[in-house]
Symmetry: C2
Subunit: 288 residues, 2 copies
């Protein structure tokens, strides 16, 4: 009953589904009820999954293994299981360990959506509309389970696609996990040098943008960093190489090298902005 | 006749001032005329400054010295001179060298506003409204010249304040120049590891935000990096220390250390977001 689980519940209810909710925090469960996010609150996990057609695990990565352990004995023999974790290798490792004969009905998933806010209070039915959801099926995944999870996400308006587990974890180390590391480190370094009050006072829109993700939930991101640790450390090393290249070109005042570096990055960034404008237009079309 | 010069010209015209424009690029000057940004285009610098009450230099930092050299012989004896450069030590060094007896009427300035777009086509009269403009007067600056430049910026709706030159260049190395270095390096590293097409396809809003400033003008940023070189290199080193701290805590899976690091950064970032909301509300009030 956080941002992602709550938003998915809202979208599914809007699509006509009946949704049960479970959370270890009773107050989150109560708020989810009060806000109309779910149809039925369940105080224990076994009751929540009993007879459920599809079970969605939307918890911080550090809690995934425990949840798998807790629900495996209570799942219906036809229940489809999926999750929303940002590091698929880590989740699949836990699934192989704890889901037993239910593994063939487990479909690892990752919706590429979110905000720097968290909690069921920030949830909204439109969070996934027009956004990508990546599924990373296993060799043993039952095609019907995969199709059921595809349908689930299509009900939210998301664009669903498949990807290999390793490739997924590599791409998101580069496009999501590293940027978070950099944003957190930048805020610390800038506050240390200019002083926190000057930082707050003089930081313009550029700094606010580049560090927005440093307002994300620390516990959730600790889990993600640890779950994708080897790839993230490798990615930080690649980044440090590129930073050193640019740093050296600045230190030696090598104008052509600096401009070539910036030009190439600007080109890629402009292509990304164009792609996102196209995406936004498509969403707009669907909403009309 | 770029984004900043064009936007200032538009704001001053709206406030009832008469504005002449000069650009080494004839097509930029022509577009500025067509768009109604200036009242009078001047094909040469001496004509542009002749009899002018106030002269605003809004060029990339690499062109500042040459412009000072070119206009010093043509300035009116009462003309106030100001600029919009992002590195004040660099500009003041050039001013001391080339402005001669006009130096006491030179007021170094820096509007904290801009977008990742450039060119007079992107200019708008409201660019500075509610934004800070920092002036870094010299010991020899004539108080009347300082007051005249304060008035100029207040005509645009900006909030004007003074700061020391060294402090300015330190604060903006931390809050602006370093973030640009990181954004450019991040785009390169991410594209290198995940491949450019995957990056464009899977990068979510967080990556788009953190790298927005990597769409900025490469030539302009090369000049800024070089003009504030020593402080920027020092700032990159401070950042590398903080990045190494976080990296090591992730590598050793030191949960409390990671959370403490992220919490402190989130705190600062949340304070910044609150300050900017207050700022936005103040702007809203003024606009109403």
């Amino acid at each position: 009953m956080g941002l992602v689980g709550g938003s998915l519940a809202r979208a599914l209810k809007r699509a006509g589904e009946r949704v049960r909710g479970y959370d270890t925090d009773p107050s989150a469960l109560r708020r989810a009820c009060e806000l109309g996010v779910i149809d039925e609150p369940c105080a224990d996990l076994s009751r929540a999954v009993e007879g459920a057609e599809i079970v969605v695990i939307a918890v911080p990565l550090g809690a995934v293994a425990e949840i798998f352990q807790g629900l495996a004995g209570h799942l219906d023999e036809h229940a489809v299981i999926t999750d929303v974790g940002s590091v698929k290798g880590f989740v699949v490792h836990a699934a192989r360990r704890y889901l037993g004969h239910h593994l063939s009905r487990f479909v690892p998933g990752h919706p590429i959506a979110g905000t720097e806010h968290s909690g069921v209070e920030s949830s909204c039915a439109g969070l996934f509309h027009g956004q990508r959801v990546i599924l990373t099926p296993l060799a043993e995944t039952d095609p019907r389970a995969l199709e059921r999870v595809r349908l689930l996400w299509r009900q939210t308006g998301a664009v669903v696609e498949d990807m290999g587990i390793d490739r997924h974890d590599q791409v998101f180390a580069a496009t999501s996990h590293l940027p978070h590391v950099l944003a957190y480190a930048l805020v610390r370094a800038a506050a240390r040098v200019s002083g926190r009050s000057a930082l707050v006072r003089y930081a313009a829109g550029g700094f606010a943008d580049i560090t927005r993700i440093a307002s994300s939930n620390p516990g959730m991101w600790r889990d993600i960093f640890f779950a994708n640790r080897a790839r993230l450390i490798e990615m930080i090393e690649r980044f440090r190489e590129d930073l050193a290249l640019l740093r050296d070109a600045i230190e030696t005042e090598d104008g052509p090298a600096v401009v070539a570096f910036l030009d190439a990055a600007k080109n890629t960034r402009d292509a990304l902005a164009a792609e996102q404008r196209i995406g936004a237009d498509l969403v707009g079309d669907k909403k009309r």
